[in-house]
């Protein structure tokens, strides 16, 4: 029951935060984004043992698919993007919200399908080869998009501003990301408790054994990555509309910022746990905001140092460390069979 109370308290805090810290709404929204991409990165990286450095591909692709879908519902995309900024940019509130809604769904589905296709090509690779392969996809996609004039080329895309006042818009996006974050957490909590969760853990711990036991390994890998891609695609879609103006290399396919941050968050909090990515993302976000505010100019050095320290000294993260010092919290115990005498094998064992 203690746990239920904790969850309710966290929910209330999540809802109340922008009211308590109205000046930090944008930053808090960014924190939710970090939580979402970390949770989904951990699906493959932590739970399944496939470290992707290319999940940012789904973020960028989601951003573009949603934006283009939203625009195409009102204007001709080529005309709209070539007029970038100065020209046509009138959207009614209905057009805005239906563009965002339908665009986000399209983005999620598009990303999920891309993950299946990319998965067929990339899941044959193991360890560092998979990481580099996925990174390659994200970098290539960024380059391709920045040379594609129809979607705005290197200039990127400008989207309409939120049809309401500025503060309302900030709140709107905060709750959009907050809802997606909480939904992702609840979904994963359920998913990891099913056979599915156990199977992807088995793939992580010993894929050959999993194959030898007849587990549909490829099927699990494709489904896992495409679920992650769907969620990241939605996050990318929301981000595009929140940012209003985004461009391909620095914002959409930002391999060295968000693309790496999500990995660091998960390592910091603890790979392969449900809470690890959440805690890691919050911690990382706070550290990042502090360094950006107080150590401006040194922020990248500070972050780099944090990455090095985490990777070298603290590989299992906070949750991994906790599991190590408090294994009983994670359910390890010896248990006698009620009312039965030890079986013959354990007698023989006792005789050893």
């Amino acid at each position: 029951m203690n746990k239920t109370l904790l969850y309710i308290a966290l929910l209330i805090i999540s809802i109340a935060l922008p009211f308590v810290f109205p000046n930090y709404t944008i930053s808090l929204t960014a924190m939710w984004l970090l939580i979402i991409v970390s949770l989904t990165w951990d699906m493959t990286g932590g739970q399944m043992g496939y470290n992707s450095l290319g999940n940012i591909f789904f973020y960028g692709t989601g951003m573009y698919v949603a934006a283009i879908t939203g625009i195409s519902m009102v204007y001709d995309v080529g005309q709209y993007t070539s007029a970038a900024g100065g020209g046509i940019n009138n959207f009614t509130a209905t057009q805005y919200f239906s563009g965002l809604g339908i665009g986000a769904v399209a983005a999620g589905i598009f990303c999920a399908i891309s993950a299946v296709i990319l998965g067929y090509l990339l899941f044959g690779l193991r360890g560092p080869y998979f990481a580099i392969g996925t990174l390659g996809v994200a970098i290539a996609a960024g380059e391709l998009v920045s040379n594609w004039e129809w979607v705005g080329g290197g200039q990127g895309v400008s989207l309409p501003v939120y049809p309401g006042d500025l503060d309302e818009g900030k709140f709107f996006f905060y709750y959009l990301f907050c809802t997606l974050g909480i939904a992702t957490f609840i979904f994963l909590k359920w998913l990891y408790s099913t056979r599915f969760g156990a199977a992807i853990n088995a793939i992580r711990d010993d894929e050959e054994k999993a194959e030898a036991m007849g587990i549909h390994t490829l099927r699990y890998k494709l489904v896992t990555w495409s679920i992650a891609a769907f969620i990241v695609g939605l996050a990318g879609a929301f981000s595009g509309y929140q940012l209003i103006q985004f461009e391909p290399l620095e914002t959409a396919y930002q391999t060295i910022n968000l693309g790496i941050f999500m990995v660091v968050c998960v390592l910091l909090g603890g790979k392969g746990t449900l809470w690890g990515p959440v805690i890691g993302a919050i911690l990382f976000h706070v550290l990042k905001e502090v360094t950006w505010t107080y150590f401006l100019g040194w922020q990248w050095v500070a972050l780099g140092a944090l990455i090095v320290v985490t990777v070298v000294y603290f590989q299992d993260g906070l949750m991994g460390w906790l599991k190590h010092v408090r294994p009983e919290w994670f359910g390890e115990r010896v248990e006698q069979k009620p009312g039965s005498k030890p079986s013959s094998a354990s007698q023989a064992e006792a005789a050893q």
């Binding site: 199977a199 030898a212 007849g214």
Partner: protein
Amino acid sequence: MSKPIIEVTGVSKSYGGVHANKDVSLKVADGGITGLIGPNGSGKTTLFNSIVGYHPIDCGSVKFQGKEISKLQVPQIARLGLLRTFQQTRIYGEMNCVENMLISIPHRKMSYKDMFKHNSKIDYEKADRLLDFVGLYEKRYLRAGSLSFGQQKLLEFAMALTNEPTVLMLDEPTAGINPTLINGLIDRLQLANSEFGITLFIIEHNMRVIMNMADHIYCLAHGEMLASGPPSEIQNDQRVIDAYLGAH
């Protein structure tokens, strides 16, 4: 010999210059216990790997229940009901014993919907029952990696039983097991064969064990089939004796 369930014909496999299997043929009788012996490095594990699709074979044919399986992938073959255990015992060290068992429930009938289900009460009962069968009941909530080597072998065996295979191929099930435990393990293997109706195909170095259990034995030497026959014949086969002595 009754109808064969596994039929290996003319299988060869080489690693670079090493001919690990040369034109090997054998039959595993349905419902029986078949043994595979041979000195170290004679190609026994390689043959197992060839049968379960672990690596592509250079030539030859492998049939399971009359169906050619030499082009199939490992998980596909496992789902047909042809299962193997590993010489280097493989269990999920980070999971507890029950979780190891639940991972092993047969995936052959599993649809997409089943993948997202929780394990049923029946699954848990089955896990407990089979862990009890191999004598690991008390240890069932311990991390499998914390078990002794012998216990891990027993766990791997219980996992294989959970999978309800038609044929179970065991690579040295008694290696590294304390002699006092070996008799218990033999009993359980024989029960798996007689009670659960699982055909067994066993690689074994312990002659006492294999001569007692198997009803037919194949002997490999230098990747080639040296001899085959019932235990009494193999035991007294001069070529087999020489091969073992020569290997020392």
